[in-house]
């Protein structure tokens, strides 16, 4: 029995601790389960699912940048039907909240995907991706349009009673407005942030290093931006925020929570050290014990400005 209460709440969903694995960085859980005991974690978020399978973008999809990486995977995924048939049976074996991330090209597709998946008992919540920078349709075209975000939230809310999380883009001027629109239309929480749009060129060929020309920047390089966006939402909108962006260790988790995050998602770090998420849970507990923090939720938005 833990000496510290690490649990946090996202709407009606209680997580045993604030450590979640971010969409697009854990596949459907099977590969990373060889490194980290999924049952130890607060939650895992699947790779973005679309109604039909998506092949994704051609290579080169990834390039390293200073303390970060650019990716343009292009939402490659197996589609909802194959996910239910082939991926859910494996995930059922684990006692960890499974959150489905959904991506779509139209509002109707978001609704249809959620409708199909909501009857699956294993799925405990939905995270709606309105902020992928790497696809032509959907993605950012929705994510930086306030009306679209409001509409998608409202329409998806109508077809599920499960906790609804909107994953917001940092590529907007005022992210809090988007969080507010999500809340007003029925979202239980927001995830902040998705990747920042970035580009990188080969100076000799003068060609972009990524085939898609631009990609999504992630990793520790974006952490200060993510902290600022979490803080902005936290100061203006009362709702749970799931902080994402360049978390590399337990100290980053504490910083995100102080800035206003209820939970966090670990992303790029999974590629570098897939054993890290489990270790971070232990280290967070140690930090709380050492500092007399009985409930980790006491850290949430505890900033002193």
């Amino acid at each position: 029995m833990s000496k510290v209460d690490l649990s946090v709440k996202i709407g009606s969903l209680t997580l045993r601790n604030p450590i979640m694995l971010a969409s697009g960085t854990v596949g459907y859980g099977n590969e990373i389960s060889e490194f980290t005991d999924l049952n130890k974690l607060g939650g895992i978020v699947t790779k973005s699912l679309s109604l039909k399978p998506r092949k994704g973008n051609p290579p080169q999809r990834i390039v390293e940048t200073p303390s970060g990486m650019l990716n343009a995977i292009g939402l490659a995924n197996v589609g909802v039907e194959a996910f239910i048939k082939e991926k859910i049976p494996f995930l059922k074996k684990y006692d960890v909240p499974l959150i489905c991330n959904i991506a779509a090209s139209t509002i109707e597709e978001y609704v249809e995907c959620t409708k199909i998946l909501t009857s699956e008992e294993t799925i405990k919540a939905f995270e709606i991706n309105v902020s992928c920078p790497n696809v032509k349709e959907g993605g950012l075209s929705f994510g930086n349009d306030l009306k679209s975000v409001a509409q998608i939230t409202e329409k998806v809310r109508a077809v599920t009673t499960k906790p609804l999380i909107m994953k917001l883009s940092p590529n907007v001027s005022y992210i809090a407005e988007f969080a507010k629109a999500a809340k007003e239309n029925g979202a239980d929480a927001v995830s902040a942030i998705n990747t920042l749009v970035g580009a990188s060129f080969n100076i000799f060929t003068r060609k972009p290093k990524i085939q898609n020309v631009t990609g999504g920047l992630s990793g520790p390089a974006i952490k200060p931006v993510a902290i600022a966006k979490v803080l902005e939402i936290s100061r203006q909108v009362e709702m749970p925020i799931i902080g994402i962006g360049g978390i590399m260790d337990w100290k980053d988790v504490v910083e995100f929570m102080i800035a206003g995050s209820t939970a966090v998602q670990i992303g790029t770090l999974n590629f570098i050290d897939p054993t890290a998420p489990g270790k971070i849970v232990n280290q967070l507990e140690e930090h709380c014990i050492k500092n007399g923090i009985e409930k980790i939720s006491a850290l949430i938005a505890s900033y002193q400005l």
């Binding site: 697009g24 960085t25 596949g27 590969e31 060889e34 995977i73 897939p274």
Partner: protein, 253 residues
């Protein structure tokens, strides 16, 4: 696959750009197969951030050898590792070469640093099969013949061996290749592999090829390393998980 911290015991300079790292890792050497790769974290700091994939050059007893070219910050850090320092290695990753089969002669075709996985292949095959290695590079400095057997060399500028590319050298030796039951094992730049694929299809040679692609994780979660399948497929294959070794007929290079 697992993560291990293994001590660096020796760093050898093959030439001013090419290094060989000798690492003690009984846990890896007991299971790794030729053609599989390792993803190495060169520093605990955040730059360079990602692991670097390396094919296993050779395995001798409890030691594994990694051959690399100093290309940037990450490989420069590797070349300057202290003897006795530990290397954070994730592996073994991917599928290796299938060395079994009814062929008599293994034809190794390597371009530049594409020679890296073949000392291990050679070691595993030399008691069972004949081996001929065709090695190419832009010039003398790019031709790597380290621990290869029966080497024939091609260089684009003619500074060493046959003047031309390694596939042209294979064409020159077509009669020899057709006189025995062969299987080709290849690794090198995509431009070389594309020409090699045409050559293999034309002459109906069985060929396995080790491919490369920028990747982050090395074990299937980032989806960063797609390669097009020749089968009508709704999804890409992944170099890290479905490869890096493929039958040359199965992938679009």
């Amino acid at each position: 696959m697992f993560i291990t911290n293994s001590p660096v015991e020796e760093i050898l300079e093959i030439n001013p750009q090419i290094y060989l790292l000798k690492v003690l890792s009984p846990e890896l050497t007991s299971i790794i197969k030729p053609g599989q790769f390792l993803n190495i974290r060169v520093t605990n700091r955040t730059a360079p951030l990602l692991r670097r994939p390396f094919s296993v050059c050779d395995v001798i007893g409890d030691h594994l050898y990694l051959m690399f070219n100093v290309m940037g910050e990450g490989t420069s850090m590797l070349a300057h590792k202290q003897i006795g320092s530990h290397l954070d290695i994730l592996g073994p990753l991917g599928n290796g070469f299938n060395l079994n089969g009814s062929y008599d002669t293994a034809i190794i075709v390597a371009g530049g640093l594409g020679a890296a996985p073949f000392p291990f292949v050679t070691r595993m095959l030399e008691r069972k099969k004949n081996i001929i290695s065709f090695v190419g590079g832009r010039s003398e400095h790019d031709v790597i013949t380290y621990n290869l057997k029966n080497v024939q060399i091609a260089s684009d500028d003619g500074s060493v061996g046959f003047k031309g590319n390694v596939v042209q050298l294979l064409e020159q030796n077509l009669e020899l290749l057709q006189s025995q039951k062969i299987k080709i094992f290849a690794c090198g730049p995509n431009a070389m592999l594309r020409v090699l694929k045409e050559f293999c299809l034309k002459h109906n040679f069985d060929c396995e090829v080790s491919t490369e692609c920028a990747m982050a994780c090395g074990f299937g979660i980032c989806q960063g390393c797609p390669i097009e399948s020749t089968a009508q497929s709704e999804k890409y294959l992944l170099v890290c998980k479905d490869g890096p070794v493929f039958n040359i007929k199965d992938v679009v290079i």
